[in-house]
Symmetry: C2
């Protein structure tokens, strides 16, 4: 059997030329525990944009059918040295129907079923995926299942990680994001406190309608006072941030320390002993992360990625998380899309310059057979 | 019994006026497990300077016998809000002779002995100290024992922490410091790899004479290449930094990632999975710590303080560490001083503006009875 179809590739040359283009490719037959999935839908997540567009100058790119060529500015081009000259597939996750399988029983049992999968080349008409990572979707549509992995497992991962670390509350710096809305529902279901930071009144409204009790607006003049009060109420000294660049993490640490110091009975030149922990799980802002020397030494800042977390959490926890996602796919873990595009449409100037903004509530869905 | 003597106090007012002055005080009798120590010598460590001078404008301060009054600039004055109006003692550690004790057997057994102690008000003619924290110095001089706690236990703490975290090597950003020299000797004794960063050829020479095998000079044009090579050799993905402000930690993370990426067989947009960990244990530079988005998500940065580490390490480990310090006080853990000053002399313009520079190899010793 020879399977051919269209697939997206992204290539960054050493001189900073970024080429993203659709090509016709031949897909190898699945072997062992692999399945071949005819892809029906794949979301464009912020984590996909890292190699799809990065910081490229998309306003002055050359666009032609099924292709764009853009320049990657410095320091981002040099920072991407490790991928120079490589032709990379893109698209972490998606959903489709299994059309062929390798020899394993697990793989064969999936033939004919619609599954969510994490192939790493989801912007493609076909993908090879690991049967062990496929989530059978039952009667759910491909659109409902396309985002069943990255955002749901990440949001659940935050809650699981917090519980492992004996925390009763979480802080999230982008409360109104798709992931933030999921996290709001998860925390409510699990009785975890949650401080949601948003940038607009409309986002605050949205989260309050979801039952969020502590929403603070970073655009308000009294943001710091709101933040301190919400941390004091919830004892959220443990938070997640996908922005990275700028000083929001610094501001959060300052607010946490202000709460901790207000409860100290004695002054310490070293600040409070209250452990303050923040995780950076994305790069929505590619600028530098700035930390000021104003919250002592009782703080931890680290990167956070889903795959290492799942490896650390173990099979049993991951199985339980996946089942919970499947059981609540159109409620707790529902994703919403602004629009859907074909592979060719996703490379037009109109589309690229829109989805790379990563605006809240404006996620794109790619339908490779559209 | 009424004991009176001179003691140093530091007070920062809300308007930014910093007053550091010697006062006559009456010391209460020791009770329970306390001992009264007639202090003979106390070092001025960087950690003492935080409340002794901070970022105060010492060039334009008013100096009078036993006193100086300086202005604390912004943002440091506001950053020190928690101590506004408080009159604080200073001096973490020192050595002296026990002249009185509380009721406990442990305390009474120390009477007449010379001890190292950590009273928090060591810039004083007398101190009350906890007998459990006193280290009997035997025949050692007060000068030899004055710095028996902070630097030795911190350097040993780095090695202990590295072993707890299953590390075979450590990176230290101020290799030639008093503490760095101790760490060099400790790592050699314990078979731990060590990457020492220095700023001058003379410092590199000093460390090589101590047997350090991986010394890199940040003033050299090829610093980054030296650093990458040393990390590659030692696999030191775990380091300690007391500078904090600026981009040295960022540079170290970049070098660690460069080594890790060079060993990867496949490109990952998320960077390497190699865990890269740095601890900030001081504030020699009060500027902002800057992190760039160029080493993926497999990194951890946190504050590190001795006291919480010792609490976490437990009594047995701490006992073993103290014994090791005592056994090697004038060899592995030897401290050297540029000069010694009386309480009054330490508040002169000449002294204050010199020791606040915290130059390598120019530590001051205070002798309260001089």
């Amino acid at each position: 059997m020879t399977t051919t179809g269209k697939q997206l590739f992204t290539t960054l040359e050493a001189d900073g030329t970024l080429t993203v283009a659709i090509e016709d490719v031949t897909f190898p037959d699945p072997v062992g525990n692999q399945v071949l999935v005819k892809m029906e839908a794949a979301p464009i997540n912020p984590s996909d944009l890292a190699i799809l567009t990065g910081a490229a100058d998309l306003d002055n790119a050359e666009y032609s059918p099924g292709k764009f060529v853009a320049k990657m500015p410095e320091p981002f081009n040099t920072g991407s040295k490790a991928r120079h000259g490589m032709k990379l597939p893109a698209g972490n996750e998606g959903a489709g129907t299994v059309v062929a399988a390798g020899d394993s029983d697990m793989a064969k049992a999936l033939v004919g079923q619609r599954v969510a999968c994490v192939p790493g080349n989801a912007y493609s008409q076909y993908c090879l995926a690991d049967a062990a990572m496929c989530l059978p979707l039952g009667d759910h549509s491909a659109k409902d299942g396309a985002s069943a992995f990255v955002n749901p497992m990440t949001a659940l991962g935050f809650a699981e990680n917090a519980k492992m670390d004996k925390q009763d509350a979480i802080l999230h710096t982008v409360g109104a994001s798709n992931l933030g809305q999921m996290l709001t529902r998860i925390c409510k279901e699990d009785g975890l406190g949650l401080v949601n930071i948003v940038r607009k009144d409309s986002q605050a409204e949205l989260l309050k309608n979801l039952g969020s009790t502590h929403v603070v607006n970073s655009s308000d003049d009294n943001f710091m006072a709101q933040l301190v009060s919400a941390i004091d109420d919830t004892e959220a000294f443990y938070g997640f941030d996908p922005i990275s660049g700028g000083n929001l993490v610094d501001t959060v640490f300052k607010a946490m320390e202000q709460v901790a110091v207000s409860k100290m009975t004695e002054y310490s030149r070293y600040g409070s002993n209250q452990k303050k922990q923040m995780f950076i799980y994305g790069r929505l802002d590619l600028g530098q992360t700035v930390l000021s020397p104003s919250y002592g030494f009782g703080w931890v800042l680290s990167g956070w990625l889903l795959t290492p977390f799942l490896q650390q959490a173990g099979m049993e926890t991951v199985g339980r998380m996946r089942q919970r996602v499947l059981n609540n796919l159109t409620t707790t873990f529902a994703s919403h899309y602004k629009t859907s595009v074909s592979l060719e449409e996703m490379l037009t100037k109109e589309a690229v310059t829109d989805y790379r903004l990563m605006k809240t509530g404006e996620k794109y869905l790619v339908e490779p057979w559209k």
